[in-house]
């Protein structure tokens, strides 16, 4: 399980370019920060009002006014800046975040995303997710390929949408998929899986790139 998360997070980190401003969702996306390649220097934005998000606080060294968007105690890096929520979402909606990485409940082949509620059951709210996926230059979904076998990559989302046609790339433990005019395109694969296994784990058609790469390479 930890392996699966590490596979996803390490592949996500390869999408970052030197100088990028990046917003990472809670969970697997946040882990990507631990795998950033040498020579790539990015600034992490946290939508509660921080550019220059650092690692979680060491126990006993928490600063009570410094949390991340998940409400957990964190640190700030040298050169950080604090600002209010209006500025923070001005940065997000204004297209100043280069990459945002989030989890999802469902993604469909047109790039629609559902990740904010299960009606009548679990309704935590969208928080900053709708702003992030509409505003960021590149939207990457990082998640396990299925929900305990249940399809999350679909022909059409069934849950309430977070946004329409915003997802560009999906990174799972099985492979990397891009959203194209013709739907899901598998561009990289984890050699532990076969294309057939990925097809079986996906609720929509998948095209396979002519130059399919090893996502773990």
């Amino acid at each position: 399980m930890q392996d699966i998360k590490a596979i996803i997070a390490s592949r996500v980190a390869k999408e970052f370019r030197d100088g990028d401003t990046v917003n990472l969702g809670i969970g697997v996306p946040t882990m990507a920060a631990d795998f950033i390649p040498q020579g790539v220097d990015i600034m992490l934005q946290s939508e509660n009002g921080l550019l220059g998000l650092g690692p979680a606080s060491a126990s006993g060294e928490e600063q009570f006014d410094l949390v991340n968007a998940g409400g957990a105690y964190v640190t700030a890096t040298p050169g950080a800046a604090f600002f209010d929520s209006v500025m923070s979402f001005g940065i997000i909606r204004g297209g100043h975040v280069d990459v945002t990485v989030l989890g999802a409940m469902e993604v469909d082949e047109t790039g629609n995303l559902a990740n904010w509620c299960i009606p009548g059951k679990f309704v935590p709210g969208m928080g900053g997710a709708m702003d992030l996926v509409v505003g960021a230059k590149k939207v990457i979904i990082a998640m396990q390929h299925t929900n305990k076998g249940k399809h999350k990559l679909l022909k059409k989302c069934t849950l309430p949408l977070t946004a329409v046609g915003v997802v560009q790339m999906i990174i799972t433990e099985m492979g990397v998929l891009e959203i194209t005019e013709e739907g899901f395109l598998l561009t990289e694969i984890n050699p532990d899986y076969t294309v057939e296994q990925i097809r079986a784990a996906t609720g929509a058609e998948i095209k396979v790139s002519g130059s399919l790469k090893d996502m773990t390479a």
Partner: protein, 226 residues
């Protein structure tokens, strides 16, 4: 000069039943717990709360929810309050509260619009989702935007790190969040600060909320341990 410094009890005395109240903070960081406590004690009912979130179970707005004082909650996220996030079919409206969920950037911007005298905002966020239902859209240069109306309030309860006696406020780190903008959008703004200093003790370059927005100042805010 008018004296703005009062106790928490005095500060919330004017908040009656049915009031619309903005509460600062994000995940209970930057939330004026002492003002919430005073409001719980006063017991005003049927409140409409506008806040980034629902606090945590028994923290921030969570205290008002537990105490049955809230009629309607307008927020972007309630997931950190375990008492609220899991709404099951047999418990559709926990605490009999009406929840209105708003994208966080839209919430911030619509509060700002009220504070800045704008008629609303034109945002691409929420188009094609449940958020857009029943709302007008406007085309600008061939692109569609959702028209979201301003959020104003009777009161704002905010929390600062340091304030001078006039009401100039400084916030610390991520505790700034919604406090600055809520101070602009409410009729009556009550600040709870950790430290109150003499006028002139704050560098005018560093002021984050100018004094004109603050009506009452309560001292003694404690660092919030979550």
């Amino acid at each position: 000069m008018k004296n703005k410094i009062v106790t928490a009890e005095q500060a919330v005395e004017c908040i009656g039943d049915g009031a619309v109240i903005m509460v600062g903070g994000f995940a209970s960081i930057g939330t004026p717990e002492e003002l919430i406590d005073a409001l719980v004690k006063k017991g005003s009912k049927d409140l409409t709360i506008i806040s980034c979130d629902a606090g945590r179970a028994g923290l921030g707005v969570g205290k008002l929810l537990r105490n049955g004082q809230v009629k309607k909650l307008i927020a972007s996220h309630v997931g950190l309050n375990s008492e609220v996030a899991y709404r099951t079919p047999d418990q559709p409206e926990i605490y009999n509260v009406e929840y209105v969920l708003v994208p966080q950037g839209t919430l911030a911007e619509c509060i700002r619009a009220a504070g800045c005298g704008l008629g609303g905002i034109l945002t691409p966020v929420g188009l094609g989702t449940a958020v857009a239902e029943g709302k007008e859209t406007v085309m600008v240069k061939g692109k569609e935007y959702l028209l979201e109306e301003p959020f104003s309030a009777d009161f704002a309860l905010i929390r600062g790190s340091m304030a001078d006696q006039a009401g100039n406020v400084i916030y610390n780190m991520t505790a700034r969040n919604f406090n600055t903008v809520m101070a602009m959008a409410a009729e009556h703004v009550i600040l709870c600060a950790e430290e109150i200093v003499e006028i002139g003790a704050i560098d005018p370059n560093h002021v984050m909320t100018p004094a004109l927005f603050i009506d009452s100042i309560v001292g003694g805010a404690k660092p919030c341990r979550i």
